[in-house]
Symmetry: C2
Subunit: 231 residues, 2 copies
């Protein structure tokens, strides 16, 4: 059977790198998709390109979109990224780093590209456990998008394979994701997770994303190979 | 009761202009959203700005997105726009002017902006009758997006008003849409529907969109005030 094409959303972080490795291990031909959306942590796009190359993506596209026009998030607008929150605090409410409708927009683009490629599979590294409280990371959101995808597209109106949204990390802890990625040979030193990195791409170590990542390595008794700011 | 904010998708065509007029007549404060997506008929964006101004939109945003990266449609890529198809032919299959996942992407942006504005209402001028065969114009697609919107967002996780996708034109014929717009005072001379306009914005008169429009006016015994190419 020939390999099936899949579109894999790739941010350049640890989760999406592991997701790409999982898609490859499952025998898919991966087409990696990243976004330049005015994020303050644009250094992650260099990481995404490197991850795509190392893990053998057939193609890597960076779509230019502008979410800043709408404002509303610490990741794109002039709002401070919170630092030093406890992991318990992260679980309560939706943080200011939430980008309105971001995963909906990202999945919509993935769907468009999948349709053009003739791919019926989309991979996204969302996680509902160590997930920092974003509504568009929940399993019920993904199920709703899958339903939408089947209705939205040319394929959905004909008798083709229905679209499937793969979320291999959705019920894993950060520590389990790291184990999984490590087992598949992901080089975490090239991944970037920080919401507010320094000029040379070094991670702050204090935002929600850094803290969750550091805890994941710690729980596994591993050292995070990413570069962090001196403190 | 204060007016409720609504995001209205505005292409600059006859349908979306009528949809905006309907939102205004229903008492909403309209925020108009258009897209520059590499369409060959970018002249419609000037029309959208003029329509937004005349119908009293509070704000008009043109989001820059790039659907050309994926290719795949006569509206964005180097594929000829079909001309002179009969209206019966249009009803069969999905035409090459179909842009993959376009309405999914447009609605996703509308959702993001609505969330930032604190709006719970989105208007889109899709039409399932004289609709040229696009899968993402069907009522079941809209229902699926509404379901998604309620799950995707901050509002959806709290006890706020659920998102509503308004499709006031969905079951109207083109002739009925024109009647409705005319009754609400829409100046159709400033709207643009052509998929393949001339350099000065004049309509070709032969693409699917022009033909559906011309027929709509004809059925009403009206003259289309838009400018057409000399033939």
């Amino acid at each position: 059977m020939p390999a099936r094409k899949a579109v894999v959303l790739l941010s350049g972080g640890l989760d999406s790198a592991t997701t790409l490795a999982i898609a490859v291990a499952a025998g898919f031909e991966p087409y990696a998709l990243s976004f330049r959306y005015g994020q303050r942590h644009a250094v992650e796009l260099d990481a995404a390109a490197e991850v795509a190359r190392r893990l053998g993506a057939i193609q890597h596209v960076v779509a230019e979109i502008d979410l800043r026009a709408f404002g509303g998030s610490a990741l794109t607008a002039d709002i401070a990224v919170p630092k030093g929150r406890s992991i318990e605090e992260m679980g309560t409410g939706i943080p200011v780093t939430y980008v309105p409708a971001r995963n909906t927009i990202f999945l919509s683009y993935a769907l468009g590209w999948a349709e053009v490629l003739g791919a019926a599979d989309i991979f996204i590294g969302v996680n509902a456990l160590d997930y920092s409280g974003y509504p568009d990371c929940r399993p019920e959101f993904i199920a709703a998008f899958e339903n939408l995808a089947r209705l939205a597209t040319r394929a959905g109106t004909e008798d083709e394979i229905p679209f499937q949204i793969h979320t291999p990390l959705i019920s894993l802890s950060k520590a389990e994701i790291i184990q999984r990625g490590a087992a598949l040979g992901v080089d975490f030193s090239i991944t970037r997770s920080c919401y507010d990195p320094g000029a040379d791409g070094e991670a702050c170590g204090e935002c929600d994303s850094c803290q969750l990542r550091l805890k994941g390595f710690r729980v596994n008794g591993m050292r995070d190979p990413a570069r962090y700011m001196e403190r």
